[in-house]
Every structure is written in C-alpha cells, then in structure tokens.
C-alpha cells in the first residue's frame, strides 16, 4: 500500500484526473458485471409490464420501490436500461477502437516503413476517408451491410455493424500517427543497426518498431474511445444504431426525447447524464495521457 502510494506520488496525477479515472473505471466495472448488478434484464421483453410504464423515479415522488430511476414508456426499469446501455456503448466503443487500431496500425506501419508508392496509396485512401463526415460514412456502411446481409438486420448484429462502421472511419487517425512515428523510429540508429544485422522487415517491425511506438498509439486510442462512443450514441439517437429492443445510451435518449415535453423528462435525462459523464471522464484521462506521453509537453509537467 505504501509502495502504491509512493508510486502514485511519483506519477503526479492531478486529483481531477484521478477522480475521472476512478469514475470511468467504476462505470466500466458496473457495465461488465451488468447481469449480476442490474435489477432487471432490459432486453427480456416478456419481463416488462405496460402497467408499470412511465413511473417517476423514487426521489421525484415515484411510488414503486422496484424502479429506483423510474421506467420508460414500455415499463422497462430505467436503471437496468442505463446499466445495460452503458455496457453496449462501452462494448461498441472498445470494439471500434480495437478494430481501428489494428487496421490503422497495420496500414500505418506498412506506409511508414516501406514508403514509396504503397505509402502514397494508403495515405490517399486515408485522405478520401477523412473527407467523409463520420456519420455519413457510418450510415452508408450500415445501410450497405443491411442490404447485403439480410441477417444483419437482426439486433444481435447491430453492434458488429456499428463497430465496423465507426472503425472504418477512425483508423485514419491511427494510420497517420503510426506512420509518422514509424518514419521517425526507422531513421534511428537502432533500426538501422538491425537492418545491417540482416533481420527481415517483419521482425524489425514487430520486435523493434512496434514496442517503441505503442505509447503514442495507446494515447490516441484512449482519446478515440470517447469519440467512438459519442458516434455510436449519435447513430443510435438518429435511429440507425442500436434498436429499441437492445438499447444503448443513445437509443434511450432517443426514446426519452419523444416524451421530453410531456413532462416525462427523466427517460432522456438520466441516460444523457451517464453518457456525458462517461465521455468526459474518458476524455480527461485521455488528454492527460496524451500530455504525459508527448515529449514536447513533458517538460511542463
């Protein structure tokens, strides 16, 4: 414990960042353990009772002790829906980041290490992708996917389509970062040394370059996790993301939005608060990591 405390002191993490980290961590834990923590399963339609619909939260005069945060228009427990919604948002966010990282890193390493025409081709494709707004590209991809694979219309497939759609746009950032870092590392003597030793490119890239550029990749990934979850929420809010039967936070906000002005504002508000604080916490941690690992800014820290 003492060792842990001194390690914390030596890192000099600001209290605000630490609080954000703890909050994001706790929410993630709750989301992971959702089936054990949530009072109800919001995806099990047979467990709802329309008679329970639109009950106010307990602290707003709601009279049903079963529903702490009240219910939505279907009689679904809002607390459970938010926990499961956060879980879906996190899964899609993490999945999209993982997909984008793998794709972006692979292409960025190839472009940065080999250069020449293959670099030009990859980076021009990246430029084209970047000239599409994220939402438009995601709409396009989910539309095409649903047209091509009828099975993809099933709600179980929705997260995978979303991961693909968001990742297809986001890999460009990774590719650009990784390409630049790879070019810097390739010019250093330790890479030239292993080239003289005669190691094949594959081994040089994976054993020597990748470990040295991972710090910058991880920072981009953390910052991107927030934007990926935000994109997912936006798509779900627009109705092209998660279906109402498998609601993410964005879907819940959309459902709540319809009742917003009939006095039942809590259906939209609590998922929105959860989403905003999750994104904020992730951003705070991500920004701190970025400053921490950016050698140009490190002097000031």
């Amino acid at each position: 414990m003492k060792a842990l405390a001194s390690r914390y002191l030596s890192l000099k993490i600001p209290v605000f960042v630490l609080a954000a980290g703890v909050f994001a961590g706790a929410l993630t834990l709750v989301a992971v353990l959702a089936p054990f923590i949530a009072p109800y399963n919001p995806t099990n339609i047979s467990s709802f009772n329309l008679a329970d619909s639109e009950i106010a939260p307990l602290f707003l005069g709601g009279d049903d002790p079963r529903f702490v945060l009240g219910t939505d228009n279907q009689g679904r427990d809002l607390l459970s829906a938010i926990i499961y919604g956060a879980r879906i948002s996190l899964i899609i966010g993490a999945g999209a980041v993982l997909f984008a990282t793998l794709l972006g890193m692979t292409l960025g390493l190839i472009a940065g290490y080999f250069g020449g025409w293959i670099d030009a081709v990859i980076m021009r494709v990246a430029d084209v992708i970047l000239s599409f707004p994220t939402i438009l590209l995601a709409l396009l991809i989910s539309g095409i996917a649903r047209a091509l694979f009828p099975a993809a219309a099933e709600p179980e497939w929705a997260p995978i389509i979303l991961i693909g759609a968001i990742g297809t746009h986001d890999w460009v950032q990774y590719a650009r970062t990784v390409r630049a870092s790879t070019m810097v590392e390739s010019a250093k003597d330790y890479v030239r040394a292993v080239r003289v030793i005669g190691l094949p490119s594959r081994q040089i890239i994976f054993r020597h370059i990748v470990p040295n550029i991972m710090a910058s990749v991880l920072v981009v990934a953390t910052v991107n996790l927030a934007t990926a979850m935000l994109t997912e929420a936006t798509l779900s809010f627009l109705g092209v993301g998660m279906p109402p039967t498998y609601p993410s936070l964005g879907t819940l906000i959309r459902i709540g939005n319809e009742f917003m002005f009939s006095g039942i504002w809590w259906i939209a508000l609590f998922p929105a608060i959860t989403l905003v604080s999750l994104i904020l916490a992730t951003n705070v941690v991500g920004d701190w990591l970025r400053d921490r690992f950016n050698p140009k800014l490190r002097v000031r820290l």
Binding site: D189, Y190, R192, V194, V196, I197, P211
Partner: protein, 569 residues
C-alpha cells in the same frame, strides 16, 4: 592589474533536489577568477559539473536546481542588481552554446537577431543598431557581412552560424563571455578558426572568457589558465602550460594522458584507472572463446571500385537536383587490417559506410567481398559477414529490449546457436568479451552509460560473427577516458581475433592511433590513400596537409605514465 577580475567565483555550490528528499550536489565548493583578456578553460568529463558552473554564472540554472552557497561576482558586482549599473545577461555577460543549429531562431534573419539584442540593451535606433550589427559580423570575420545580415540561419554553414552567435554575444560589449563547448559540433578546420577568433577577441577587447570544454587540444591551443573538474569539484587549477605538462593530481594526469595523440601511435591507449581496463583478461576471452576467425594476410577482403552515390531531391517547380555524396571511390581492405577513413562532415565517409553495410544503394560502381560481388540485395551469408556500429550509443540500441536479448537476436537469426539457452549464453560470453559482466544482459539500455552502450553495440555486431566490422565514428560522442577503453577494445579485436575493421572518424588523432592504412576523403572523393605512418609524416595532397595543420597539438607531458603496464606495452 588594478581592475577587478571580470569574474570571481567563491565557494560556489549548486544542488539539485532528488525525488527521495536528498540533494544531488552538481557543483561543490568551486572558486575561480578570470582577469580581463584572460581565457580560463574549465575541463572535465560529462557529469563533472562544468556546464553547471557556466549556467550558474549566466543565471541559467534550471529549477529545481539552485545555488545553495557561494558568490559569483561579475566585474565586482553580483548578477541582477538594481538600476542601470546592475549586471545583465546579454549585456554584461555573453553566452555561446554548443549547438549553433539550435541557438538561433530559424524564423528570423541573423541580422535581426543581433539587432534585437543591441536595440534592447543599448537603446540604439534601428539604423544605428543595423550598422553595429554589420560591424559585429565584420569583427567575427564573417565573409560579406552586409549580405549575410539578411540571411536566415539555414542559409549559413555551421561555422558561420557559430560566428553569428558569437557576434550576438559580443553585441553589447560584455565583460565576460561564457562559451559552453563552442566548437564541439564543428569540423576540425572550422573549429580551429572559431578558437582563434575567440582568442583574438579576448586579446583585442580585454574580454574575460570562460571556456567550458572537454577538448584538451582546444585548451592547449587558446587558454591561459585551466581548471580540471571531477564530480562537481575543482581538482586542479593553474596556467595551461604547467597543468597540461605536469599535472599534480592523479586524475588530471590520467585524463590528460587518455587524450589520443597525433604525434606517434601507441600500442594501447592509457586509460584512467587499472580496473577500468580489462586488458589482458579481455584478450584471453577473445582468443579462447571467439577464436581467431580470419588469418591476417595481404589478400583483399573487400574491394570497392568506382563507387558513386547520388542523392536526388525532387522539386516540382525547379526539377531534380542531384547531389553527389560519393564520387568514384576505389580501394581495398586487406584481411585483418584496420582501414581508416577520415574527413570532415559532408565528405561522404558515412555514405561510404552505409553503402558497404547495404543501407544505401550505390548509383554506380561495384563492391567485391571475399571474391564475390556484394550488391544491395544480399543473401544471408553476405549480410551476416558485414556488420556495423554506429556513432550515437543512445539511439543505436532498442530502448525496450533487454541488451542480452538484443545481442542474442542475430545469433538466433543466423542459427549460430543450437538453442535459445545456448544463444543467451553466447550473448553472455560476448558481454564478457567486451568488458561487461555476463549477468548485465537482463538490463535495459537506460541502465548503461554511453561507453557501456557502445560496448553493447560492439557485442551485438560481433554476435553475427562478421568478417568486416564497420565502425562509423564509434567514439565521437564519448568522453576521453571512455573513448580510450572502447578504442583499446577495438584494437584487441583486431590483434587477438584478427577482426578486419573499417574505421571511420573525423578525429585525426584517433585515426593515427587506430589504423594501419588511411583514406582521406574530401567532397565525396578519396584524395589520398596510404599507410597511416606515411599520411601523418609526409602527407602528399594539399587537403591532407590542410587537415593536419588544423589539428591543435597537445604538449607532451613530462610526467611518467601512472600505469607501468601501459608504459611497457
């Protein structure tokens, strides 16, 4: 002289607080004084605290470090002070830093950077300060000062940039000039010019100069007095002629002896202390474990003929520009010899190393290695046979790989060991062979000093069991004493294991100590190639003679060497 000394330091101590609550004492009880017109050299190895003294005088100690005791007086007054007669950095103290590339702002013309200082401190009008700036550029012997005034830093050479920095430092007629390694980043001939410029300015302007340097030869050339520092303390101080010839302190004596001499080659270079030089034990390991690979002889191991490298820069508007980095180089390296290549920066010597190592594709010309042509696309054997060590020991090792792993990597790749365990044990042997202990293999590069890292680089290159080892400026970023040890190791490799070396350096004294034959390069061409002895005793080409004349010579010390073994060797 009745004038007060331009600088007097008394009992200076600088502390840096450490994370564990203790202090690291960078400078401890340093006292010295400089008279007007005197050049006082402060020498020592890296970490000795000599730059910290320079920074303390200029008030440039980075927090959290601070001056904990002692006084610094400039012309009898402390730095700072109230009113117009207080001592100001830039007006009363001029500072020159090591790297002329980074000490000028690339976005402003050099003239405007001098004008800025002049108009700020002396409150001169724009026209007057421009005139004084041009006058200053003339003073520092800048060719065509009117034209250079409106040049940007990147349009000037390294030497010209350093002249601009000196001009800016002198712009307000300071009493004291602090020069922190002013010539380290420069070529020999430029170095000689800058040193004589500093000497002339000190004489003409009655300027006191504190010359912080690790270069003993520079000290011998221009300084009046010298102080030798070690671990933050001043060991010895006195007139240059006395200290360099007959140093009193053991460390000072060893430090001065470790400087490679250009006058005559020694079999082994003297090192700082007995325990640092593994000497004979290394030789035994090299001989018994690595074995004698190549029989020395007169037949050529590597023959290069008509090697030319062009670098083409493409510009859409102005078309391609071709720069010929290497122009028709031809020579051959014999088995078991140390072949030296010497030249100034831009002479093409590193390009030559890169072409032979296979990192750069030649535009034309052929390389024959061991009777077979050696192109850019090489088979496994050819790649293994040519290995290289690099100049900067800090960037030439992968920071995220344990050093033992880095050494074992080529062993595994070329199947030189039967198993993973065997490859690691060979890595241990190699670490021992270069004078480190075998169990250091589990550590990461940051745990090692520059000299140790360079030994690790050598071990990694040897792991592939090369026939030819290319050394590209292997010791130019190392301290003198460390340099001596690394050079001795390379000598041992040749003497006991028969290793053939291609040794590239800009340091003529090091080349003299190391090489059997030497090629002198200038502007991409080999201008002279002969036995080392011949090159240094009777150089034929005018450029070679010019290079030799630029090397500042060290006085031969009168005192006997401290190690009897080295003396008899």
């Amino acid at each position: 002289m009745t004038m007060p000394p331009v600088l007097s330091i008394d009992g200076l101590r600088v502390d840096y607080p450490l994370a564990d609550g203790n202090n690291f004492c960078a400078v401890d009880d340093v006292s010295l004084s400089i008279q007007p017109g005197e050049i006082h050299a402060l020498v020592g190895e890296s970490g000795a605290g000599k730059s910290t003294v320079g920074n303390a005088i200029a008030g440039l100690i980075d927090p959290p470090g601070r001056i904990t005791s002692g006084t610094i007086l400039i012309a009898g007054k402390p730095l700072g002070g109230k009113g117009s007669d207080g001592i100001r950095l830039g007006r009363d103290i001029g500072v020159i830093f090591q790297d002329p590339m980074t000490s000028l702002n690339p976005l402003f013309t050099v003239g405007s950077q001098i004008v800025e200082t002049v108009s700020y401190h002396l409150r001169e009008s724009a026209r007057a300060s421009k005139e004084s700036a041009i006058e200053l550029l003339r003073t520092v012997e800048m060719p065509e000062p009117e034209r250079r005034f409106s040049c940007y830093p990147h349009q000037l050479s390294g030497g010209q940039r350093q002249r601009v920095v000196i001009a800016a430092a002198l712009s307000c007629n300071p009493k004291l000039l602090v020069a922190d390694e002013p010539t380290t980043a420069l070529d020999v001939s430029v170095q000689a010019q800058i040193l004589s410029l500093i000497k002339r300015l000190a004489d003409e302007r009655q300027l006191g100069v504190l010359l912080v340097t690790h270069n003993m030869a520079a000290v011998a050339q221009i300084a009046d007095r010298v102080s030798i520092m070690r671990s933050g303390r001043l060991l010895e101080s006195g007139p240059v002629s006395r200290v360099l010839r007959a140093p009193q302190h053991d460390y000072a004596r060893n430090l001065i002896q470790a400087v490679p001499r250009i006058e005559a080659p020694l079999r082994r270079l003297p090192v700082l202390s007995e325990k640092d030089d593994v000497g004979t034990s290394i030789q035994t390991i090299l001989e018994t474990r690595l074995g004698r690979r190549e029989a020395a002889g007169s037949d050529a191991l590597l023959t290069v003929s008509g090697l030319t490298v062009d670098y083409t820069t493409r510009n859409w508007l102005r078309g391609g520009h071709v720069h010929r980095a290497l122009d028709g180089a031809s020579f051959s390296i014999r088995r078991g010899e140390i072949f030296g290549v010497v030249g100034e920066s831009g002479s093409g010597k590193s390009t030559l190393a890169n072409v032979i190592a296979g990192l750069v594709r030649p535009t034309s010309g052929t390389i024959t290695f061991d009777g077979r042509p050696l192109g850019a696309n090489r088979d496994r054997d050819a790649r293994r046979a040519v290995q290289m060590i690099f100049q900067d020991p800090y960037s030439s090792l992968n920071a995220r790989m344990p050093v033992g792993e880095a050494i074992a990597e080529p062993i595994r790749f070329y199947h030189l060991a039967s198993s993973r365990a065997d490859s690691l044990s060979r890595a241990r042997t190699l670490l021992e062979a270069v004078g480190l202990s075998g169990d250091m293999g589990e550590r990461f590069p940051f745990a090692f000093s520059g000299g140790q890292r360079q030994r690790i680089s050598i071990a990694r290159a040897l792991a592939a069991e090369p026939s030819l080892l290319i050394c590209d400026e292997p010791t130019s970023s190392l301290d003198v004493s460390v340099q001596a040890r690394v050079l001795n190791l390379l000598k041992d490799l040749r003497d006991t294991a028969g290793q053939t070396l291609l040794f590239i350096s800009h340091d003529l004294a090091v080349v003299r100590q190391m090489c059997d034959r030497v090629a002198v390069m200038h502007a991409g061409c080999i201008v002279e190639l002969a036995d080392c002895e011949t090159i240094f005793t009777s150089p034929k080409h005018s450029y070679t003679r010019h290079l030799m004349s630029c090397v500042p010579s060290m006085p031969i010390s009168d005192c006997p060497p401290t190690h009897k073994k080295n003396a008899s060797a």
